[in-house]
Symmetry: C2
Subunit: 255 residues, 2 copies
């Protein structure tokens, strides 16, 4: 069947086209309500309605999940330490107050704490977990994350927490910090992030850093972290050059 | 500008239309890939692409939230009771094993447990919370829900847990059970659900039950729970009739 509006238009076309004739070929988008012609057509009406329903369902699912997250979030143990049955102590910070926590939470969040507290180890007997190479602030943010899945991040805190996430196998925290570092990536940080990602086994951060480095190879040797990386981990520098040359050869091969 | 394909079609229209001419007025939906004409048009190309991107973002948000829910879910305290610092006991079931739990979790999930355990009340001192009018199975499912935000429901369990959700002000559990009861609503259950919703202050369940009742008013007096409701809560029956008559008058008023 010929569409009704187009039929009218085709007839009008026989006597020469005017502005009002052209209107016959124009549709109005059900979403933005702007006019468009056939060349700019997107979906049929049925798919538009189905997409609307699907979006509504996704939004309902998001509301459900947000409410579940809010329900499952625990209050920070530092707000109410009276029920705590263990403390964490940053051993390099002798003035720091011990951070209260709950064995059940630590065990649920980290396979390392699980092994430590389920077996009859020193930490279980003493009720104290000593953690080295960490400041009081970082350790408090780490413990808090285990209760809330949230942490106030800047670049340094994201790196510090990622290290703890790796050490205690808290994958969710590692991913959380990795995403932050990727979002804040720039040329100045790319080499440092690349070396850091290698050290702490962060696949996505490593590949995001490498992409930024390869995009600006002509400035590589001027990057403030370049000389340091050559000293500390020359193999990683070699890998950058190898990947770059490999890409060049691949691109040349396509012509 | 006249759309290119339509121009060709308008020209073809002058010499009579054939099947191939008609093709000129047909577009192909970018979503389902089926053909459609202008009368069935939905969105422009730009809105289709934007909707696709928006959907992708919603799906990523869902993935993030699901991973957060999974991280925040605690293991059930019955699986590993050694760190529990309180037990819940169903007082009407003398043979039942006490159910282990953690004060910190109870306090985080329920304002009632919070008041009970933060103040120097009997439950805090004894480490035992006695709960009446509940079976061991229901209480175990209740405690488990506080750790996992999940419960295996049937109609009876949904009602039992909703009662505990109301008593201990665990709103998330109440909504969870209410949604289940609404999803499983039918004519046989509508009056019982209506009375139950009234008793436990469930606005959505009450309105969903009432809608089912009003849809089948001619069978109301035959419903197995009708006579019981007239006996136990005649005011609720009056409310059904008042709503029905009110709707009839409103409908009549629109003609």
């Amino acid at each position: 069947m010929l569409p009704r509006r187009c039929t009218a238009s085709a007839a009008a076309g026989q006597t020469g086209s005017s502005d009002s004739d052209l209107d016959e070929f124009i549709m109005r988008c059900l979403s933005c309500e702007e006019q468009y012609d056939m060349m700019d057509s997107g979906t049929c009406r049925e798919c538009y309605q189905e997409a609307n329903e699907a979006e509504e369902e996704l939004r309902l699912e998001i509301d459900d999940l947000k409410s579940k997250v809010s329900f499952l979030t625990l209050s920070s143990p530092t707000l109410n330490p009276s029920t705590a049955d263990i403390v964490l102590v940053p051993v390099d910070d002798s003035d720091a107050t011990p951070i209260p926590a709950h064995k059940h939470v630590l065990v649920s969040r980290s396979p390392v704490f699980n092994a430590m507290l389920e077996n009859d180890m020193e930490e279980r007997r003493s009720g104290t977990i000593k953690i080295s190479d960490v400041s009081h602030d970082t350790l408090r943010a780490f413990v808090n994350y285990l209760y809330t899945a949230e942490a106030p991040l800047d670049n340094q805190m994201a790196c510090n927490l990622l290290v703890l996430g790796e050490k205690y196998q808290v994958k969710h925290l590692k991913t959380y910090c990795e995403k932050y570092l990727i979002a804040k990536m720039n040329w100045n940080r790319a080499i440092a992030n690349y070396a850091f990602a290698y050290q702490y086994n962060c696949k996505q951060l490593r590949s995001a850093s490498l992409a930024v480095i390869l995009d600006k190879m002509d400035s590589l040797t001027q990057n403030e972290y370049y000389a340091e990386l050559v000293d500390t981990n020359p193999r990683l520098v070699v890998e950058i050059y190898e990947t770059y040359i490999g890409k060049q050869l691949n691109t040349a091969g396509t012509f």
